[in-house]
């Protein structure tokens, strides 16, 4: 385990563009290269765990609700409870230990009470957890909520996945603006075009140029991915020679690995 600087990569984009598939492929590629990584599912609407072949995972949301309920009891059993170490214990308990990497699911949105204190504890725990890893890969929803709450403070690379639709690019543009409003530190922003065909390749390149988006990869529409999806085979088991997996290798290089 290295205590070198951890690289944090967040992947986002409009729903349906295949950002979770891209995240899963990146996780697969990097963990195969021996990078010790933490995969974070920060989008309640997607299914990164299933894509990685993991089901019924507990979430940070569950851990937060547990602590919130415990600490807002009108008459706590133990007023002197070490809340930080209890929350940390819950977080460490829900981390799913996969072969070669860890998986953490953020889960449901919080309830109606005040979560300032719990989130503040969580921030400290996440800061210390993240340094355990070489890479953190976050599958994030387009609103970047967990970043606006600063549960994860710094992002080195923010990747926006888009398909050939104009709306996909709009989302990419909007995320660009959103990042400027965030207090989080975001290093670089890139775009990956997904489901690329010969028919839309040129159009995609031009769209990216027009919007001044830095395109670091174009993943071809891969019939294998669709087939696996239908059969319910985790994407993690894709073969190295599939067109998508090959393109991911070149993206990983672009990211500096």
């Amino acid at each position: 385990m290295g205590y070198s600087v951890t690289k944090v990569i967040a992947i986002t984009g409009k729903g349906g563009t295949g950002k979770t598939a891209v995240a899963a492929l990146l996780i697969r590629s990097l963990s195969k290269k021996g990078k010790f990584l933490l995969a974070v599912d920060a989008d309640a609407d997607t299914n990164l765990p299933e894509t990685l072949g993991c089901e019924d995972v507990k979430t940070i949301g569950d851990a937060k609700e547990y602590l919130q309920a415990e600490i807002t009891k009108p008459r706590p059993d133990n007023p002197d409870m070490n809340k930080e170490s209890v929350l940390k214990s819950k977080v460490y308990e829900i981390i799913e230990e996969m072969p070669g990497y860890d998986l953490l699911v953020m889960g449901r949105p919080e309830g109606s009470g005040c979560y300032c204190y719990v989130n503040n504890l969580l921030r400290g725990i996440m800061d210390k957890l993240i340094v355990n890893y070489d890479v953190v890969i976050i599958d994030a929803e387009a609103g970047l909520e967990h970043f606006s709450r600063k549960i994860i403070r710094d992002i080195d690379d923010l990747i926006v996945v888009t398909d050939a639709s104009r709306r996909g690019f709009r989302t990419a543009e909007r995320i660009h603006e959103l990042v400027d409003e965030l207090d989080s530190n975001v290093g670089r922003i890139h775009v990956i075009a997904n489901k690329v065909t010969d028919a839309n390749r040129e159009k995609l390149v031009k769209l990216a140029e027009d919007l001044k988006l830095n395109m670091i990869g174009m993943i071809p529409l891969d019939p294998k991915i669709e087939e696996m999806d239908i059969k319910g085979i985790p994407l993690f088991e894709i073969s190295d020679d599939s067109v998508a997996a090959v393109e991911i290798e070149s993206i990983v290089k672009e990211l500096g690995f």
Partner: protein, 470 residues
């Protein structure tokens, strides 16, 4: 510094020992894990001694989970039983400073893992115990002597657990009895200042934070670890008024944190210089002038209070870190405080609670008042509330007569048409506060109008309200 087989640094604090890299697991979700710190006589402690009861590290099987108990004895001229919990809180930090040893949770839920790398560097838990005690004595110099016993034998751990639970129980009973006057320091919290910039959350033994999440002990622990963090110590200063809970130190911090907007905060007052309200409080209290009483609504209650407004509207008006006279945000646990709004009559002033909240906190409501406090099942508007309180002879009813008498006197003295005004003034001696944004409810049946004055300064020489002549 003595040599230890593994590195020691705060850098390892968040280190996660994974299943793949783990030699053994101690305690945790699948077994029993205990930690306890006890003060002992100096003579009874053999400094730096580590005793192991049950299999030691080298006798353990790789990949297995073992029960675990660790009992630290501390001694020193300044060591007293009250410090046990303060010291115990640091066990988590100091064990995590040891490379390859992961420590989680607390008390009887302790969960530890020892990495293969670290296990390969030592045969026994002895150097580990000595490293932890070295850290304690360095960082908390009032500990002059320290020894530890590690238990890894199931029956022994179970036995220690039974004894420890009794000790925790007694300790918790003591902490619950801690009062404002027993301590010299309160704690402040600025977590809410991001959206309520002038909010000054003061946490004392008798007053939990408004969000309900931070009590005095949390403040103490957080301020010790990071004095510059969001929770920090407030020296109480001089007690200016025991009844209202006014302290010079709290007033000083109120001026500082609100950038001069407030000069005073009285911890147990509802009307005069009350605590500021952040916006994320669990419960909001509201003054009902027509009955001279106070109602409370919790965040979960969806309906309307008798004043015709619901939680979210009141929270919107009250929040933002202001002192809003007539409204007060609190944490649920403050209902359990023996000083609960004691400056303004305490429970005797409480006239209305949603039934869900009343049930939740039933045990803390004084027995003789339980039936006299209305819920939405008894009263949904001012008229029905008034009738209910009168029927049950709630303590506030006595003040109505006094208020009426005074009004009559005033009328005699000044022959204006005041009597025609339907506005009922509250108790004698109570001055309507200079409302920053207090909704004025029309007390009569004139319909649902609401007038809100915000930051208004109005001076009226004479106001005549008379019946309209057709």
């Amino acid at each position: 510094m003595a040599e230890f087989p593994f590195e020691i640094s705060p850098m390892f604090e968040g280190e996660r020992v994974r299943k793949e890299g783990m030699f053994v697991e101690l305690g945790g979700p699948k077994s029993l894990g205990l930690e306890l710190v006890r003060a002992a006589d100096m003579d009874a402690i053999e400094d730096d001694k580590v005793t192991i009861v049950g299999p030691d590290l080298k006798e353990m099987e790789e990949g297995k989970t073992y029960p675990w108990a660790m009992i630290f004895n501390i001694g020193g001229e300044l060591v007293e039983p009250d410090l046990e919990s303060v010291v115990e809180r640091r066990v988590h930090d100091f064990i995590n400073y040891c490379q390859g040893i992961m420590h989680l949770n607390q008390r009887y839920d302790v969960w530890m893992r020892v990495s293969k790398d670290t296990a390969a560097k030592m045969d026994s838990f002895k150097p580990f115990g000595q490293a932890v005690m070295m850290l304690f004595k360095t960082e908390l110099p009032f500990i002059e002597k320290m020894q530890v016993t590690f238990y890894t034998d199931q029956a022994e751990v179970e036995k220690q657990l039974v004894e420890a639970k009794e000790i925790f129980k007694a300790r918790d009973a003591r902490t619950k009895d801690l009062r404002d006057e027993d301590v010299d320091v309160f704690y402040g919290c600025t977590l809410c200042q991001s959206f309520a910039p002038t909010n000054v959350c003061v946490v004392s033994p008798d007053r939990v934070s408004l969000c309900g999440a931070i009590n005095w002990f949390d403040g103490r622990a957080a301020a010790k670890v990071d004095p510059e963090g969001p929770q920090f110590a407030i020296a109480k200063g001089d007690l200016l008024d025991a009844n209202t809970g006014e302290y010079s130190g709290v007033n000083d911090i109120a001026v500082k944190l609100s950038s001069g907007e407030f000069s005073k905060i009285k911890l147990h007052s509802f009307f005069d210089s009350p605590h500021t309200s952040c916006g994320c409080f669990e419960v909001v209290g509201f003054y009902i002038p027509e009955v001279d009483g106070i109602g409370w609504v919790n965040r979960e209650y969806q309906g309307m209070a008798p004043n015709g407004i619901g939680f979210s509207t009141m929270a919107g008006q009250t929040g933002g870190g202001k002192q809003i006279v007539g409204f007060l945000g609190i944490g649920v646990a403050y209902f359990y405080s023996p000083k609960f709004i004691q400056a303004d009559g305490g429970w005797n002033r409480v006239v209305w609670l949603p039934s869900m909240l009343k049930e939740k906190i039933a045990e803390t409501i004084p027995e003789d008042l339980k039936d006299k406090i209305a819920t939405e099942n008894d009263a949904t508007d001012i008229e029905s509330l008034k009738a209910f309180l009168q029927e049950k002879n709630h303590p506030v009813v006595a003040t109505w007569a006094a208020a009426e008498e005074e009004e009559e006197e005033e009328e005699e003295a000044e022959e204006t048409a005041v009597a025609a005004a339907p506005m009922m003034m509250p108790a004698a001696g109570f001055q309507m506060p200079a409302m920053a944004s207090m909704p004025m409810m029309s007390a009569g049946k004139a319909g649902g109008i609401k007038i809100t004055f915000k930051n208004a300064k109005i001076s009226i020489d004479k106001m005549i309200v008379s019946e309209k002549k057709e």
